[in-house]
Each structure stands twice: as C-alpha cells, then as structure tokens.
C-alpha cells in the first residue's frame, strides 16, 4: 500500500480496514462456512465461538432437513477453533480471543460487507 492510497482512506475509517482489493479477503471467502460466519458477524458484530458453532449447526440442519446432532456441532466447533477462526484472524477480518471465545468482526468497508452479504444471500436464492 502506497502512502498515497493510505492517506485517501485515513480520515474516517480505522487503520487496517479491509477493502475489496485485499488479496487475503478472497482466501477468507473461499469457504462457505467462513462466509456464513462473517455474515453472522456482520449482523451481530460480536459473538462467541460457541454460539457461532450452534448457529452453523442449525443452518446446516435447514439444508439437510435433519436434526443436527451434538457430534455435528462438535465437528463444527473443532473446525472453527483450529482452522477457520485462526485463518480469518490472520487476515484481520476478525479478532478472536481464544481464552474467552469472543469473536468480533474486524474493520471492513461497505463494499466488503456487501460482498459478504451477497455471497451468502445468493447461495440461499440458488437453494430456494
């Protein structure tokens, strides 16, 4: 990022705000589970890994039409803790406090927020 680009956005947004041209963003969005997780955080801003796992399990159940089991949820929780959340934290899209389990959305600009919403919403339209 050049000095020039930086100064353009410096005024009204926090340092480190994610934009559409951040390469990391696309890696982060390359997973349905991570897109859903980011979408939930867009709405709630802050959540916990436990709650995210519960909602993702319920979300999955709405697609299979079957009861999600405690094992299903446990698998999701493990994947979140060991894979998805560290990856998203690495790309600064979220902050994740391992000890408390609190997950918060990092600073994203509006086009990024729209992209996340659209990626999840279009998925639902395809299914319905």
């Amino acid at each position: 990022m050049t000095d020039n680009e930086f100064s353009e956005t410096e005024g009204d947004e926090p340092v480190g705000t994610i934009h559409l041209d951040d390469d990391e963003l696309y890696r982060a969005l390359a997973s349905r589970r991570r897109r859903r997780l980011l979408y939930m955080l867009l709405v709630e801003e802050e959540s916990t890994v436990q709650k995210l796992a519960t909602v993702l399990a319920g979300w999955g159940a709405t697609e299979t039409g079957r009861m999600a089991t405690p094992e299903d949820r446990r698998d999701i929780l493990t994947a979140l803790e060991h894979h998805h959340l560290p990856l998203l934290a690495e790309s600064d899209l979220i902050t994740y406090d391992r000890r408390s389990g609190v997950v918060s959305l990092g600073p994203v600009d509006q086009p990024v927020a729209d992209l996340i919403s659209r990626s999840v919403e279009s998925e639902r339209q395809q299914h319905s």
Binding site: T54, G58, T62, M67, T69, S117, R124
Partner: protein, 236 residues
C-alpha cells in the same frame, strides 16, 4: 408438598431457542404449556430458514428446521424410530412433547385427567392407586367408583385428605389425613403389572384455578407416589 416438584417440572433444564426472521413461526406459543423454556433469536433476512436449537442443562442436544419440527408436532405425533436409537435432540423433544405438560387447568380438565387415571387403574386391576381429595365433598361423587375398585380389583388404594375417623370405611381402602395436601389435587397410579399404564396428576390451587401437570413417565409417577406415601401421617 409438591412445590419443589412443580418448579422442577416447569422447565427441567430444557431450553428451545427459535432462530427466525420477521416471519414468526408460532413455535413459542405452541410450547407455552410444555415443560420447556422457549426464547427467540433473530435471523437476518438473507440467512438460513428458521430453525430451533434444543438444549438440555445448557448443553446443545440438537437443532432442527422449524418446518420439520412442525411436521413432528402436528398430531398424530410421528416418531423416527424408538427413543433409544434416535439422537439426543429427538429425545429431549419427545420428552417435552409427551411426558409432561405443565399448564393452567380448570376443574373440568382436572376431572377429565382424574377419570383417565382412575380408568387405567380400573382396567389394569393391579398395582397401587393414590388419590388425594381436597375435602370430603370432592370424594362424594367418586365414592362408588372407589368402592367398586376395592371390591372388584387387586388394587392397593390409598385416599388422602380425609380424616380416617370421618370416612365411611371401605375394605381395601386406606384413608390418610394428609393435611399438607389441602392445596393439591393429585392422583397417581403405578401401572401395576403394566408399567406403561402408569400415570399421575399433580395440580396446585391458585387464586385463578389450578396449575400443574400430568405425566406418563414412570420415574416421575414413582416420585409422586412416594411424595403421597410420605404424607402417611394418620393412616387407618
């Protein structure tokens, strides 16, 4: 006497969380009278279809789409197999649905449930039946039935809330004063040789009528039978 049990029945550590958008499923009101606490969480418009998360004692037991749940709770209740081999979520759900209903009840409903319990005892003809009456006038209309049960079945019959000295003796019926029971309307039958027939009712008089529950859960029925048996303050 039954207050701790009534409090426990009211939710039994069960919690349903309904995740839904603007369109309300009506699930919370459908479970209003059941032994579960229900709360709602909002889903964003582009999110998933509504679903219900089932928890027992704070632990996730399962999650089910609302439309699937609706199919399950519309009578006749359909069970995906026997309880032992279904997942935890269904176990909790069916407990909520059929074991125990905690609700406000009027005299008419209480009478109907009482007749059902007495009727089961009449058909099974063995086992123990414990019934508490709030006063003698409540016993009067039923006395012939109890006389019949005592003479024509092998039931062990105990009647509570009646001073033994004041009662007309019936061979085979044991009266108990059960002074602690005067606010309660309760019957319990252990099912005799047919445990599946066990059933019980516990209701507590309130300023507006009664609230309470009835159950076909043998463990709970047993607990109610013991509570009644403990009121054995002045038998015979």
């Amino acid at each position: 006497m039954f207050d701790p049990l009534l409090a426990e029945i009211q939710n039994q550590g069960r919690q349903f969380t309904v995740y839904e958008g603007d369109e309300e499923s009506g699930i919370p009101s459908q479970f209003e009278t059941h032994a579960v606490s229900v709360r709602q969480e909002e889903l964003p418009p582009g999110g998933p279809a509504p679903f219900v998360v089932i928890e027992q004692d704070g632990e996730f037991a399962g999650a089910l789409p609302v439309d699937e749940l609706q199919k399950l709770i519309e009578p006749p209740i359909v069970r995906p197999g026997e309880r032992t081999d279904v997942s935890e979520g269904f176990g909790v759900l069916f407990e909520v649905l059929d074991d125990t209903v905690f609700t406000a009840m009027n005299r008419k409903q209480l009478l109907a449930v009482s007749r059902e319990i007495e009727d089961r005892a009449t058909r099974v003809r063995t086992g123990t039946l414990r019934t508490s009456f709030q006063n003698r006038s409540r016993l009067e209309p039923q006395i012939e039935l109890y006389r019949y049960l005592a003479s024509h079945t092998d039931l062990d019959i105990h009647i509570y809330g009646i001073e033994p000295a004041d009662a007309s003796p019936i061979p085979g019926v044991t009266y108990h004063r059960g002074a602690q029971l005067d606010r309660y309307w309760s019957l319990a039958f252990d099912g005799g040789d047919h445990e599946s027939q066990s059933c019980a009712l516990v209701a507590r008089e309130t300023p507006n009528g009664y609230d309470g529950f009835w159950t076909y859960d043998p463990v709970l029925v047993d607990e109610i039978l013991s509570t009644l048996a403990d009121c054995d303050d002045s038998s015979r």
